[in-house]
């Protein structure tokens, strides 16, 4: 086995190397899942309790209080379906975006493909999603909600994939920026909060009447993710133009994030 260490010359994705380190994905993900709820009395229950309480609060204030429409399905189902995906995105982006700094001690001492850290953060938030998804299934049964199984099997996974791709793209981009410009530590929470407003989590896009606002919402990669996911449950027609814009934005996010991360990752150890 012979290899060279030299200044970086050309761009590569380094997929083969990632594959060599595949066990590390498992260990990083496992560590974060395991550590997350250590020394909490309720422990693992928090995975489910957090989105559940959010749903209850949203249902009370927006569903009951403000009477926000919900595409003809019970508001709790509507908001929960959006919320669990949104949590993947918001938690994933926040953790991945800070990942290089919170793992600085490891980055400075050991080499491994740095992409493992943001990918593991996404995997951890997907793991949380799976738990919450079980509750969601439970809710579907509780409301005796009838779904179209074929739609469900196509659009629900699609929504999850788009969420993962967007989370990964945004997370890696922010992670790489954050290690260089520590301003992003403050930008990330703000950005996540602001994005929630233009994501149809608590309201359906149909209540937006202004065309321009619709397009702005569509620029948000999570718009397509949540809309597709919901389409697997509620049979409401979707605006393909808006979906396509959002999908494009998601893919762009992914490419830019990955590219910028790979391009700068060599110097992370010097900056951390």
């Amino acid at each position: 086995m012979e290899y060279e260490i030299k200044p970086k010359e050309k761009f590569s994705l380094g997929l083969r190397e990632l594959w060599q380190y595949k066990e590390l994905f498992y260990f990083f993900t496992w560590r974060d899942v395991k550590v997350k709820y250590k020394q909490t009395t309720l422990g693992f229950a928090w995975v489910i309790l957090q989105p559940f309480f959010m749903m209850v609060i949203f249902s009370l204030f927006f569903g009951k209080g403000l009477n926000i429409p919900s595409e003809n399905i019970p508001y709790p189902l509507f908001v929960f379906s959006g919320l669990i995906l949104w949590n993947v995105f918001s938690v994933g982006v926040t953790v991945a975006g800070n990942g290089m700094i919170s793992n600085a001690n490891i980055i400075k001492k050991i080499y491994f493909p740095r992409l493992i850290i943001p990918i593991s953060s996404v995997l951890v938030s997907l793991f949380d999603f799976l738990m919450a998804f079980l509750i969601f299934i439970g809710m579907l049964i509780y409301y005796q909600f009838h779904i179209n199984f074929i739609n469900f099997l196509i659009y629900v996974p699609l929504g999850i994939i788009v969420t993962s791709v967007s989370t990964f793209g945004m997370g890696t981009l922010l992670a790489a920026l954050n290690i260089k410009y520590r301003d992003f530590r403050y930008v990330i929470p703000f950005l996540v909060q602001a994005l929630l407003f233009i994501t149809p989590v608590i309201y359906p896009i149909s209540i937006l009447t202004n065309e321009w606002v619709k397009y702005i919402v569509a620029l948000n990669p999570m718009y397509s993710a949540i809309t597709l996911f919901r389409h697997g449950i509620i049979d409401v027609p979707v605006d393909m133009n808006l979906i396509l814009i959002s999908l494009l934005s998601s893919i762009l996010c992914f490419i830019i994030g990955l590219y910028y991360f790979r391009k700068t990752e060599n110097y992370f150890a010097d900056l951390a």
């Binding site: 086995m1 012979e2 290899y3 060279e4 260490i5 030299k6 200044p7 970086k8 066990e23 590390l24 260990f27 560590r31 395991k34 550590v35 250590k38 020394q39 001690n105 490891i106 980055i107 400075k108 001492k109 050991i110 080499y111 491994f112 260089k180 410009y181 520590r182 301003d183 992003f184 060599n266 110097y267 150890a269 010097d270 900056l271």
Partner: protein
């Protein structure tokens, strides 16, 4: 056979900004797009054209002062940071131990941490599984395997960390002063393991340390780095002597005064003289049957908290036998006023053996800085025996490093 590591013209450049900014801020970057920044910057070479080859099975010590570029070299070798130019050809898997216990997580149990740390170091899960029993045996923590790491003593954490690293199966091991910690017994165990790795298992070891004794014990060859360049590369015996000479100020008694006058100046402290006296006589030939004094004359230039002078008494293997501070009897850190001082230490009679020692005089401000060269002002002293120990056996030389007067009570038992 081709060398296992070929290091060819490696340089690493850093840009130093003369404005004090530890991190880039977005604003500065944005502003500098529009206008040329006024802050000057200059290039600093942490490594400058470093080349050497390492053969398979060799163990090489890399020495040099703090800031010489050793750590940068290790970081490049372990791919943590890329070189600015040059290249390294490696013909084996490199494992780097720049720190013990990288990635240990306090909330996870010992067992979990072994797997986590092992995989971060690049071990396959199967490899860890295979060596698992040997690892816990080496670390001696079998009882606490399922206890969270945060309840481990720091010694236990260290043992566990080293144990995981000790079972890495990579062909090339890079080790950075991991032995600087831990108690003597464990350090010995680690050294034993490392010797085993390099001598018996025939793996290649690059070992960075300040501890010349450890380097000499482990490595036949030394690469000495200074100012980012290789200044010497050869047998460890030859180089370590040279290295020790240059890293400290070593002098014979008569030259002390001249040497002190040539010390680099310090803003807080000025050493004025050092005298060694026995029976009011100055000199470095001393008798062990009588006490002698070490006088340190110095001037404090500014009011300082915790400025102290001290001496080390070392044997000729560089072991520090005694270290004693001029203010060690005080209960609080003193505020030292700008004056002239003489601090006198009295070494009691009947303590030292009839061998050569070295006294190293240091001064420093606690937690702030040293005011003397790294290894102090080194003054060799010779002790002759006058304390009538063991005189009946005149041919029998005492082999101990010190020879204090011990009260023996020999009783003859009848019946």
């Amino acid at each position: 056979m081709k060398p296992v590591l070929e290091i060819q013209n490696i340089s690493k450049k850093f840009r130093i900004h003369h404005e004090n900014q530890p991190y880039l801020s977005l604003r500065d970057s944005l502003v500098s797009v529009f206008k040329k920044s006024k802050s000057s910057s200059e290039d600093f070479y942490a490594l400058n054209d470093v080349s050497f080859n390492v053969n398979a099975g060799e163990s090489i010590g890399i020495i040099g002062k703090n800031g010489a570029g050793k750590s940068t070299l290790l970081k490049i070798l372990s791919k943590i940071t890329p070189p600015s130019s040059g290249k390294i050809i490696s013909r084996g898997r490199i494992a780097s131990l720049l720190e013990v216990g990288t990635g240990f997580h306090a909330e996870l149990s010992g067992r979990e941490n072994i797997f986590l740390n092992g995989s971060i170091l690049g071990m396959k899960r199967a490899e860890i599984q295979k060596n698992f029993d040997a690892i816990i045996d080496f670390a001696g923590v079998e009882k606490f395997l399922d206890t969270p790491l945060k309840h481990y003593s720091s010694g236990m954490q260290l043992r566990l960390a080293f144990a995981v690293a000790a079972f890495l199966e990579n062909e090339i091991l890079i080790i950075d002063e991991v032995l600087a910690v831990g108690d003597a017994e464990f350090q010995k165990k680690c050294m034993g393991k490392m010797e085993d790795v390099s001598k018996n298992e025939g793996r290649t070891v690059l070992f960075v340390s300040h501890n010349m004794k450890a380097v000499q014990q482990l490595c036949k060859r030394i690469v000495w780095i200074h100012g980012g360049k290789v200044v010497a590369d050869g047998l460890s015996r030859d180089i370590s002597d040279n290295y020790l000479k240059t890293t400290s100020v070593n002098t014979s008694y008569g030259e002390i005064k001249a040497l002190i006058d040539n010390l680099p100046s310090d803003s807080d402290f000025k050493l004025e003289n050092i005298c060694i006296k026995q029976n009011q006589q100055e000199g470095s030939q001393l008798l062990n049957g009588e006490s002698f004094q070490i006088e340190i004359h110095y001037k404090v230039l500014k009011q300082c908290l915790g400025l102290r002078v001290y001496f080390d008494l070392c044997d000729n293997d560089e072991n520090i036998l005694i270290r004693s501070f001029n203010d060690e009897n005080l209960e609080e850190i003193p505020v030292v006023m700008p004056r002239h001082y003489v601090a006198t230490a009295t070494i009691p009679s009947n303590l030292l053996a009839a061998v050569s020692y070295e006294i190293r005089i240091h001064a420093g401000i606690y937690n702030v800085k040293m005011c003397t060269p790294e290894l102090g002002i080194r003054i060799p002293i010779d002790i002759t025996s006058s304390n009538k120990i063991n005189i009946a056996y005149s041919g029998d030389t005492i082999r101990s490093k010190i020879s204090p007067f011990i009260n023996w009570n020999n009783k003859l038992l009848t019946t």
